[in-house]
Each structure stands twice: as structure tokens, then as C-alpha cells.
């Protein structure tokens, strides 16, 4: 934690110092005098100009420093021991450590050093408290650019997972059997994970390399740590039924570091070529979590009846890995009439650490290799007609070894519940033509593309213990075609319309999630009035279905094996309307309305035994339907009240409502948990108000007030709100 804070605070400053030294070597003077932050692009009125630049010699340094005091209060939600719903993306903590109400401070900083001809150095820091702050710094001149950045952000979505765990929800357990109790071994209720990212790099510009090449080195990394709630189920022989369904507090402590080198060149400006190489190391500092030693033993579970192998089984193991990748890309423009681009890349992901069980079973090579390539070309045939074609290849090979003891097809019951994915090879190619007819400013593109994907899958060879292709919906081949049209027109000054229909059909699909048939339509119209008004609207429609995949009864089942089609049907409607108005020169108002309806159905099948049992028979129970409507309405604007005062604000209303399923699933969910898991019905109100008041040429008072209220009609425990007031003073130095 201390290291992250140190990085967060010192990195921008160190970068600033380095850049300062560079700046001393450069020069230039001139004027310049843009203050700090002024108006947003939508409101081109000059607002709270707070700074007069500090010009010494030739370089102008504009600095705005804004310390802020934040006051917050979460209300109506759960206590501090659990996660407030609004806290999931907005984790606040006061000086006293209180996370429900308190006071804290932070700092924004903007520094721009301009030599009259360019911004030599830009530093920006944004701070919203201990758990959300970031910074970046960049220095650039004709020869070199150098940058550094960091960010720190805490999310607490895992705490919401905990609130929805079986023992937190009335009815979340059943009255008998292995699910009758949920063994909460977590011993904590609030979960959060911090992600601290950092990056740095430099680029040597063409002026140093004979105007022929650029070299850049980039480093990036992150630290991710915290805790998450991890539920699991055990069906290990020898365990008593009551000890099977559990949830634990899982530590997260991961690091990633990556360094990359990119060489770009355009030899005599004949063509562009770039070569990238990168090396990435991912380290999980949380050791292996074993069943007996780390999980069930400490929880007091009797493991005397459990075999030696299961006792050392790992839980949620995340291995250390290394990823190396290379890529070379090139493009060539032939007299602005033909452009060709091509690239080839490859990567190797290696597993560096293994579980004890993996090592015992001889699994010491975990490796994924990929290689991919593309070739794309476009040509102008006539001034009004152009054509484009592309072909992309992608291959993923699982190059790991899988010894018999671990995942061999003949190893025993249920080892290959899903087929092993040895490789996936994908070929995507297509052509399109673009035509600009002399008709209401039209631009028409028509195209076709094909996706051809081959999978090498290993299904188990023991029909008594391994799942067989006939009992799986996963297939080896995908072959689909798509026809599409894009029509853009500008029928009158300020008007733009766009219509994009497409139709996809597939002879074969690998997963039911891939469409056997799909129709999509995107329609958009916008009008920009000379007075600065902008109104736009869109409607998108997407329907896809797949009835291509079947389950078949097992060979040892009763009677003649029957075949059952899964039938996926999905319809998505969405529409939006946006309005941006400038009723006066100093006022800008916007309003957006968005609606989306997701309507999905598939068959629900049950089996009497697991699918790898040759006696399995399927039963079509129902066709549950998921149907959710979501609405988002936002209204906001800026008002430059006078030379000193600028007001701005926004209000967003977001609502999602509907049933997550119909029929049997809905009924059973309602019987079990009431509304909690059967429906979605929530509303979020967000009100933000801001005021900037120019106290004098160098000082601006900035006040922001935020009010969020989340109301969940399915699960009352999630309902709650937050007030936050932020008062800052921006000093221009």
C-alpha cells in the first residue's frame, strides 16, 4: 500500500523534474496565455479562466493547483461492515477511516510548459480521494517524447457478490441435500480490490533518425490486490454433504509488468513498416490454496475419508505466466489510388508456476501459442468508386502437456466434462465496394464477409465416463457469411442520415451463441442547425437465432435415442434521441434519451443423470424468456452566468426492469428467493451540480455537489444513496 502511494505521489513529480531538465536544453519564447481550464467544447464560452501564465525567459509555465475538500455521506444502505451498492465503483473513505460518512482532501494539478510553439511539458493529476486518483506527465520536443503515468482505483463489486451469496438472501438455500446450507467460511463481508497501474516510456522521433524511423520503448504494469468473495461446491467423495457448498475470502495479490519496443520506419517514404516486440510477466503472489491445508482444514471439516489427491486439490489457482509477442506490420500507399496493409504476429504464453497436484501428475508445461496475420487492400477504381478486400488469419494452439493423471480422456468419470480445446483456427475474409452516387450526398458501401473457423477438440474416448459430441452443443466448425450495406446521405445542409442493414447466415456454427441467422439494422439521423443546435436519433435492431445444435440421448438410455434441438432466439431493440441546444451564447443544454430492450429465449433441458453417463436422456422442460428493458435519460448543461460565475449540472435517470426468465425458472426462483433473483427492477438517480466562481485573476472557487440514489425493488438491501460535496480552490501560479 505504501509503495502504491509513493508511486502515485512521486512519479508525476519525478517525471516533471526530468522534463524540466530537458526543457532547459530546448528554448523558445513567444507569448501564449491560455489560462487553465476553460469551457467545454460544447459550451464555447470562456469561463473560469483562473491563471495568468508564468513567463520566464521564453517558456511559459501555466500552473493550476486545486486542493479540494470532500464531504460525503452514504445513507439508507447497509452498514459499514458490508458493501453499499453505490460504493462498488465509488469507494469513499474519510480521514478517520469511516466509509459511511466523513471528510477527506485531495488535489488536482495542471502544469503546462509552452515555449510559444508547442506544449513542451504537460502534467495532470486528478484526485478523488485515497481510492481514486491518477496522474500523467509528458514531455515532448522535436527529438524526443517522454511520458509517465499512474492510476489507482478501488472497486468493491465483490462486496455486492457477497450480499447476493446464498446465506445472505432469504430462501437462498434449499431445505435438504448438499445445498441445504451454505458454509460461509469467509469471516468478512466487505470486499474490494485495488488496481494500481503505472506506465512510462519514451519515443525517439524521426528527426534524430534521419527522418526515416521512430523508436519507442514502453513500460506498463499494475498491482492488483485486495479480497474477493469466492463461492464453490465440492462433490469430493468422503466429505459429508453439509460441508460441500462453501464461500471463502480469497486474497488477491497480482503483479503485471510489461516492456515493449517498437520500431517504425518509412524508408524514403516508400512504405510504412513497424516491428513490435514485448515481454510481459504476470505474477500471482498469493500462494496455492489447497483443500485440506488452506480451506477445509482450518474450517474444521473432517477429511479423514478423503483420498490423498483431493486433499491437495487447488482452489481458484492463478498461475504465474510470461507472455512474449512479436508483430510486424507494413502498409504501402500507391499514389493515393491503392493502399495495401499486411501484418503478422505471434505470441507464446507460458505457465511459470504449477499446483502441487499438477506437478505430481507430471503436468509441467502449460503453454498457449498464437499466430495471426492479415492482408488488407483498397483501391480507387474511379473517382466515385472504390473497392476493399481483406483476409485475416488467427490460430490459437494449446501446446500444454496433459498427462493421464490430470486430464487424459481415459482417466475416469467426468474428467472431460467439456472437450479439450487443442486449437482454434480462424479465417475471416471479405470484399466491399464503396460508391458515391450523385444523389443527396450519398455514400454507399456494399460488402460480403465470411468467417471460417475450425476447432480441434478432444472428446473423451470412454463413453461411460466422458462427455460425447452427441451430448454437447460445442462443435468443431463455424462457417458463416454476412452481407451488409452502409448508406450515408446528406440530403440537405446540416442533415446526415445513415442506414446499415446486414444479414448473416451460417451453414455451421460452433456454439449456440453464434447466429445461424441474423438480421441487423442500424439507422441514424442527425441535424446540425447553423445556430449551433444539434439533434440526432438512432434506432438499432438485431435479431439472431440458432437452431443448429442438438442434444442426443445416450446410447445406453431407454428406447431409441432421441434428438433435441436447442433453439436460441434473441432480439435487441435500442433507440436514442439526443439534443444539444445553445439558447444563448453563454448557455449550452443537452438532453439524451436511450432505451434498449433485450429479449432472449432458449430451451431449458434437464437430464436424469449427467451428460457423460451413457444412460442419459434429455427432457425439454420449458422455453424460458429473458426480457429486460433499460432506460437512460440525462439532462445537463453549462451556463456562464457572468464573467465570474459559471454553473453546470447534469441529471441522469437510469432504470432497468424485467424478468430474468419466464415459466419454470421464474416460478422456482420466486419460490426460492422472492423477487431477488427472478426480476430486475432498479432505478438510479444521479444529480451533479457544479459552480466555478472567479474570485480574482488567479483564484477560482470550485464547488461540486453529487447526489446518487439507487433504488432496488428486487433486493431492498441494495437500496441506498450518497451525498458528496467537494469544495476546491483553484490557484493559478
Amino acid at each position: 500500500m505504501k509503495r502504491k502511494i509513493f508511486l502515485g505521489l512521486v512519479l508525476p513529480s519525478l517525471t516533471l523534474l526530468a522534463a524540466t531538465l530537458h526543457a532547459a536544453e530546448v528554448a523558445p519564447p513567444p507569448p501564449a496565455a491560455d489560462a487553465s481550464q476553460s469551457a467545454s467544447p460544447a459550451a464555447p464560452v470562456d469561463t473560469t479562466a483562473t491563471a495568468s501564465p508564468e513567463a520566464e525567459g521564453g517558456t511559459t509555465v501555466t500552473t493550476v493547483i486545486t486542493p479540494r475538500l470532500f464531504v460525503f455521506d452514504y445513507f439508507d444502505g447497509v452498514g459499514e461492515d458490508k458493501t453499499n451498492y453505490l460504493e462498488r465503483y465509488d469507494y469513499l473513505e474519510g480521514f478517520s477511516g469511516d466509509t459511511r460518512s466523513g471528510v477527506f482532501a485531495d488535489l488536482d494539478l495542471d502544469v503546462i510548459a509552452n515555449n510559444g510553439e508547442r506544449d513542451l511539458f504537460v502534467l495532470e493529476r486528478r484526485g478523488f480521494g485515497e481510492h481514486n486518483h491518477r496522474g500523467s506527465a509528458k514531455y515532448s520536443n522535436d527529438a524526443l517524447s517522454v511520458y509517465g503515468s499512474y492510476s489507482h482505483y478501488r472497486s468493491a463489486t465483490g462486496g455486492i457478490d457477497y450480499l447476493l451469496s446464498p446465506d445472505q438472501v432469504d430462501g437462498g438455500e434449499v431445505s435438504s441435500g448438499p445445498y441445504q446450507t451454505f458454509n460461509d467460511d469467509a469471516n468478512r463481508y466487505d470486499y474490494s480490490i485495488d488496481r494500481t497501474t503505472y506506465g512510462a516510456g519514451f519515443k525517439v522521433k524521426p528527426s534524430v533518425l534521419g527522418d526515416m524511423a521512430t523508436v519507442s520503448v514502453d513500460y506498463e504494469g499494475y498491482q492488483r490486490d485486495g479480497n474477493k468473495f469466492a463461492p464453490f461446491f465440492l462433490d469430493t467423495p468422503g466429505l459429508a454433504g453439509n460441508d460441500r457448498w462453501r464461500g471463502i475470502n480469497l486474497n488477491v495479490d497480482e503483479r503485471m509488468n510489461k516492456v515493449g519496443l517498437t520500431l517504425s520506419a518509412s524508408p524514403k517514404k516508400m512504405f510504412e513498416v513497424a516491428y513490435d516486440v514485448s515481454y510481459e510477466q504476470f505474477v500471482n503472489d498469493v500462494g496455492e490454496l489447497q483443500m485440506e491445508r488452506d480451506v477445509l482444514g482450518p474450517a474444521g471439516v473432517d477429511l479423514s475419508g478423503v483420498g490423498a489427491n483431493p486433499r491437495i486439490s487447488s482452489f481458484f489457482y492463478v498461475p504465474d505466466t510470461k507472455l512474449t509477442s512479436h508483430a510486424i506490420r507494413a502498409s504501402k500507399n500507391f499514389s493515393d489510388r491503392v493502399v495495401v496493409a499486411a501484418g503478422y504476429g505471434m505470441s507464446t504464453l507460458k505457465q511459470d508456476s504449477f499446483t502441487e497436484r499438477e506437478i505430481d501428475d507430471g503436468h509441467t508445461k502449460g503453454q498457449i501459442g498464437t499466430d495471426n496475420a492479415y492482408l488488407t487492400a483498397s483501391a480507387i477504381v474511379t473517382p466515385d468508386v472504390s473497392v476493399e478486400g481483406h483476409i485475416k488469419y488467427y490460430n490459437r494452439d494449446n501446446e500444454s502437456t496433459f498427462p493421464d493423471g490430470l486430464i487424459a480422456p481415459t482417466n475416469g468419470p467426468g474428467r472431460l466434462v467439456s472437450p479439450r480445446i487443442n486449437s482454434i483456427k480462424s479465417l475471416d475474409y471479405g470484399v466491399s465496394t464503396n460508391w458515391r452516387p450523385d444523389f443527396i450526398g450519398s455514400n454507399l458501401t456494399a460488402g460480403w464477409r465470411r468467417l471460417d473457423r475450425d476447432r480441434d477438440l478432444t472428446f473423451g474416448v470412454d463413453p461411460n465416463h466422458d462427455i460425447q459430441p452427441a451430448q454437447s452443443l460445442y462443435r468443431e466448425k463455424t462457417l458463416s457469411d454476412e452481407l451488409y450495406l452502409k448508406w450515408t446521405a446528406r440530403p440537405a445542409k446540416g442533415w446526415t442520415t445513415r442506414l446499415t442493414p446486414s444479414y448473416t447466415w451460417a451453414d455451421k456454427t460452433g456454439l449456440v451463441a453464434e447466429p445461424e441467422e441474423a438480421f441487423m439494422l442500424k439507422a441514424m439521423a442527425s441535424y446540425a442547425a447553423p445556430a449551433g443546435w444539434l439533434v440526432s436519433g438512432f434506432y438499432d435492431y438485431k435479431h439472431k437465432q440458432n437452431g443448429n445444435h442438438t442434444f442426443t440421448d445416450g446410447s445406453a438410455g431407454p428406447g431409441t435415442p432421441l434428438t433435441y434441438n436447442q433453439d436460441i432466439d434473441s432480439t435487441l431493440h435500442s433507440a436514442g434521441l439526443s439534443l444539444n441546444v445553445m439558447p444563448r451564447d453563454n448557455v449550452n443544454v443537452y438532453a439524451n434519451l436511450y432505451w434498449v430492450q433485450d429479449d432472449f429465449s432458449s430451451y431449458l433441458f434437464t437430464t436424469d443423470v449427467q451428460r457423460w453417463n451413457p444412460a442419459v436422456t434429455f427432457t425439454l422442460v420449458d422455453q424460458p424468456n429473458y426480457k429486460i428493458n433499460s432506460y437512460v435519460f440525462s439532462l445537463g448543461g453549462d451556463w456562464q452566468y457572468n464573467d465570474k460565475l459559471k454553473l453546470n449540472g447534469s441529471y441522469t435517470f437510469s432504470k432497468s426492469t424485467g424478468d430474468v426468465a419466464s415459466g419454470t425458472v421464474f416460478t422456482e426462483l420466486q419460490n426460492a428467493t422472492g423477487m431477488i433473483d427472478s426480476i430486475i427492477d432498479n432505478t438510479l438517480h444521479s444529480l451533479s451540480l457544479g459552480a466555478d466562481y472567479l474570485i480574482n485573476d488567479k483564484t477560482t472557487l470550485r464547488v461540486n455537489y453529487i447526489y446518487d440514489y439507487y433504488d432496488d425493488n428486487a433486493y431492498d438491501l441494495l437500496t441506498g444513496g450518497v451525498h458528496m460535496l467537494a469544495i476546491g480552490v483553484a490557484f493559478a501560479l
Binding site: 509555465v61 491518477r134 502498409s331 493502399v339 483498397s378 466434462v417 451463441a513 447534469s650
Partner: protein, 275 residues
């Protein structure tokens, strides 16, 4: 509190050093004085040495010099910008095929040529980065999804649109797969795993909508519907006991499949992805 003081102290020190450096004046670029007689504000908005040469990017008609007016001077098209910004630049080398170019966007639609395009954020987006605010000014549907109950924390400042999307690139001319985009941050999921889950290997967006969803964990569909499209339910494992066996489905097992199958992204030991 200590952190705030530390932050102020270190940055203040750096600033003091910066401002203490006096520098030699450089020659003023030629050819712009005529422009500046009218376009005074631009004098204060130079972000790049080459951008301060008006005529390098703009071609005024003769009447512009007399009458002025927006229509009588050209604004730079992408080709103008790329004459400098494409050479030796691996990020823009495939602009010719990019989706933004095909949508007829010019560089100036996103980049402020004289000063940053987005100078200040509306208070509703005040934690966001400016790049994301710019993206959302056109991609309203995505902006709306960022207000749904589950979303990537872009408007909260946790990440930026450009962490995942390269606005200059093309889907037809990229070597990065969709999953690779996700694995840039989610290395813990990419494996290698002994027992893989097919949709995880195939395409993260089969199950997740990265922009926002009404369902927890960015799921495209709420559980159990997300899972039931591919999986049947074995009653001997997923049903309520009755008499000597289990014969009917129960809501407790239909709630969140991941309550039991917690290693849904793959496991090193359990074929059924339970831990």
C-alpha cells in the same frame, strides 16, 4: 492527510524548479502574421510548433483575406494531417482502413488542432478522463450503457475508452484479437488452464457486455439464462430431493450457477469448474 501534504510538497518543488529556468527566445514562425491580425485567440493556443504555421494546414481563398468568413478557408482534411503524422508512426499506419475513416471522420473531429478538444468536463463526468468524454459525445449508446447497474468504471475514472479501443485502427488490419483486449488487464483469466471453458477461450463477449449491462458482472444475460443456452441441468445434481432421488428443479440451484461453479473462467483441477 499526509499523502496530500506529500503530494503538494513534491509537486511544488518540481514546479519551482521549472519556473526557475530561463530560456532563449526562438524565431517566430513566418507567414502567420496576417492571420493573427484577426485570429487573435489562436495566438494563445499553440500546442505544437508545426500547428502554429497557419498556412501549413489552411488554404484561404483570396476573398477570405478581404471579407473573412468561415467558408472561405479550408480546414485540414485527414490527408493533410497524415502527411506529417503517418510517417514512422505505427499507430496511424492503418488509418486508411479504420472504422472512423470509413465513417467520414477527419482528424479535427476528435483532435483540437490549436488547443485540446475537451478543455473542461461537465460535472456529471468530472471523474472521467477527457478522451472518454470525447468518445461519448458521439457514442451515445455506449455512454448510456455506462450508466447501467454494471459497467466498466469509465465515467468514474477507473479506466478510459482508449485502454481498450484504438480509434485509429481497423478491425480488418489488426493483430489483436477481441480476447487479447480483455487480457491486457485480466491476465488472471487468460490461463493457461487445465480445464478451459469454451466461451472463455472463444470470445469474452459471448457472456459479457464490456460497456454495461443491467446484469451483475457485465453479463449479457442474467444467470441462469446465460448458462442454460448451452447447458442442460442434470437432475441428480441440480434438483431438490424427493423420496429416494431428486426430481424437480429448485430456485436455490437456479439462482447463480457461479455460486457453485465458482471457477467459471477455467480451473486447474476441477473439470466441472467448481473451484
Amino acid at each position: 492527510m499526509m499523502r496530500v501534504f506529500l503530494s503538494m510538497l513534491t509537486t511544488w518543488t518540481a514546479l519551482s524548479l521549472t519556473s526557475a529556468i530561463a530560456q532563449e527566445p526562438a524565431p517566430v514562425p513566418l507567414g502567420n502574421e496576417a492571420c493573427k491580425t484577426c485570429h487573435v485567440p489562436y495566438e494563445d493556443h499553440k500546442v505544437n510548433v508545426y500547428h502554429s504555421d497557419c498556412l501549413a494546414c489552411h488554404t484561404p481563398e483570396s476573398k477570405h483575406l478581404v471579407e473573412g468568413g468561415r467558408g472561405s478557408v479550408t480546414l485540414p482534411a485527414a490527408d493533410n494531417c497524415l502527411s506529417c503524422h503517418q510517417n514512422n508512426d505505427h499507430k496511424r499506419m492503418n488509418w486508411a482502413f479504420s472504422e472512423h475513416k470509413k465513417a467520414k471522420l477527419e482528424c479535427r473531429n476528435c483532435h483540437g488542432l490549436h488547443s485540446p478538444k475537451v478543455k473542461e468536463l461537465n460535472v456529471g463526468m468530472w471523474k472521467s478522463d477527457k478522451n472518454s468524454a470525447l468518445c461519448m459525445s458521439c457514442h451515445k449508446d455506449v455512454a448510456a450503457r455506462m450508466n447501467m447497474p454494471s459497467h466498466h468504471p469509465v465515467k468514474e475514472g477507473g479506466l478510459s475508452c482508449t485502454n481498450c479501443h484504438d480509434p485509429h485502427s481497423s478491425k480488418n488490419a489488426t493483430l489483436i484479437s477481441k480476447n487479447d483486449q480483455c487480457y491486457k488487464c485480466h491476465q488472471n483469466i487468460r490461463g493457461p488452464k487445465v480445464f478451459e471453458h469454451a466461451p472463455v477461450v472463444e470470445d469474452c463477449t459471448i457472456c459479457h457486455n464490456p460497456h454495461g449491462s443491467p446484469n451483475r458482472r457485465l453479463l449479457q444475460l442474467a444467470q441462469p439464462m446465460q448458462c442454460l443456452q448451452c447447458h442442460s441441468l442434470a437432475l441428480n445434481m441440480h434438483a431438490r430431493g424427493g423420496g429416494g432421488g431428486r426430481d424437480s428443479l429448485n430456485g436455490a440451484q437456479l439462482r447463480n450457477c457461479t455460486n457453485c461453479h465458482g471457477a467459471i473462467h477455467g480451473s486447474h483441477i476441477d473439470a466441472k469448474l467448481k473451484h
